[in-house]
Amino acid sequence: MAYFIFVFSGIIIYIALANLLHLQFGLTGIVNFGVVGFWGLGMYGTTVLIVQYDLPFLVAVVLASLLTAVLSLILGWLVLDLDSQSIIVATLAFSTIIFYLVTTEKWLTKGVVGIGTVSFPFDVGRRTDLVYLAFLMIFTAVSMWYSWKLKQAPYGRLLLAIQDNEPLARGLGKATSREKLIFFTATSGMMGLMGALHAPVNQFLTPTLIGPGVTFTVWIALILGGKKHVLGGLIGVFVTVGLFDLLIETYVPLPTNFTILVPNIKLMLYGLMLILILMFRPLGILGDR
């Protein structure tokens, strides 16, 4: 049960991240390949503030998210107006830098030894993890509801316009550079917040948690589900992470020597899936609407 709740909490966080990527990429066209950097910064920031500086959970979460937002602002200012391949490379570089620094700055993060533990911000007895999961679900649901509302709001139209034809939107008096920067900062800051909220689920952090696999998983989920659809990320996460981490790893009885191969097979199949979707169904399972 505890393991199920742990995995399911991770799935909920993945859904939230996929939703944020839907806003960045599906709506605005910002190719953020540094998801793990923002999320990891929030997670490590919170943990470090709690473990090393004895700050209360809430304060740590807020500070870590703000730090993520500030760094997104700087990164965004540097690269958001460049072409998409520069943005891909720069965001990927950003997350790689975070990964390296978490590894090297042992005085702060304890490096590869790992840092912990972060406990849940509240204690309601034996099933605190379940209550926290419920909290994460509500939080994620609200953020998806926001996406859904946003698409009908003037700002949603503006974001779609930026993705479709940015010069034309500028010609209509829209300050697209500024709006992209604001929106990127807000959504990347939210990725940091999701990381911060993930800290008590993981409890103990090592740098392996913030490898490129996380970014890749969020991307495959969004593309598979449908980048243009509010529910795309949700569907995609269940078909990928849900299928492998929850169903196969938990319930399918596999021989032990095969079990250790599952994560590798998983990522290999993710890669294959991504190739096939982009070639044969670029808008994913849910399509356009």
Partner: protein
């Protein structure tokens, strides 16, 4: 009614060593509807891009003088800033937002910085309601096959582009070949609408066109551009009779 003017001083622009625009002194918009004509490669489109700040001039100064008597140096403003000041351009090449329907596209244009906030997800119906009549007016005025869907044909996209610009309530509108690709009757209704806007709303319009008959018909004043330079200007009658204009046109496009 006073017009909105644009003054260009010593404007130069070259691409790869070739001077495309070279204008010492030019005032646009002294009359409600003006035309800008010239043979292919005269630098008309480049000039428009310089004025709307889509391109930056290599040197020179651009002044914007709205009817209220203000005088703004827009040489270093951005494309979107000058658009917000009321200096707007319709596009020569068809431009559209693929994922927006006609109505969404117009709502985008009508939305203001007040509504364009990422946290403003409530009360957005208010915007749609307050401008419904305005949108319906244009969708009735022009024949769209499916006014609630996407713009389908090139002609519909061209019309949509013009309406989007009008929705911004511009003070000065540059129209880059507004009627290219439109059938004759639509050209007439576009121009009738523009003349109405010029009279009723005090909109100043500059039209770039290859269809000279249209220029003679609707313009109060015409600027003639060739080889990036201002060759002459005058009333349509004067320009029509001008020997040099005829020669330049003949020389380039009719031989």
């Amino acid at each position: 009614m006073a017009t909105t003017k644009i003054v260009l001083k010593n404007i130069r622009k070259s691409f790869g060593g070739r001077t495309v625009v070279d204008i010492d002194n030019l005032t646009l918009g002294a009359h409600p509807i003006e035309g800008l004509i010239g043979p292919n490669g005269a630098g008309k489109t480049t000039l428009m891009s310089l004025i709307t700040r889509k391109l930056s001039a290599d040197q020179g100064q651009i002044l914007y003088l709205p009817a209220n008597g203000a005088k703004v140096d827009i040489t270093h403003n951005s494309l979107d800033e000058v658009a917000r000041m009321g200096l707007v351009r319709t596009n020569q090449i068809i431009q559209d937002f693929e994922s927006l329907t006609i109505r969404d596209s117009l709502l985008l244009s009508l939305s203001t910085p007040h509504f364009d906030k990422f946290y403003r997800i409530f009360g957005t119906q208010k915007l749609a309601q307050s401008v419904n009549d305005e949108i319906d007016f244009y969708l009735d005025y022009f024949p769209f096959e499916n006014p609630n869907g996407h713009a389908l044909s090139a002609g519909e996209k061209k019309l949509l582009d013009i309406i989007r610009c009008l929705m911004l309530k511009p003070k000065f509108l540059l129209m880059d070949e507004p009627t290219a690709g439109l059938p004759y009757d639509l050209t007439q209704s576009v121009m009738a609408l523009m003349q109405k806007k010029a009279v009723e709303d005090g909109l100043t319009i500059l039209i770039v066109e290859h269809d000279l008959d249209l220029i003679w018909e609707v313009c109060d004043f015409v600027h003639f551009l060739a080889e990036g330079q201002l060759m002459t200007q005058g009333t349509p009658e004067e320009i029509r009779k001008n020997q040099m204009v005829a020669e330049k046109y003949m020389g380039v496009s009719h031989v």
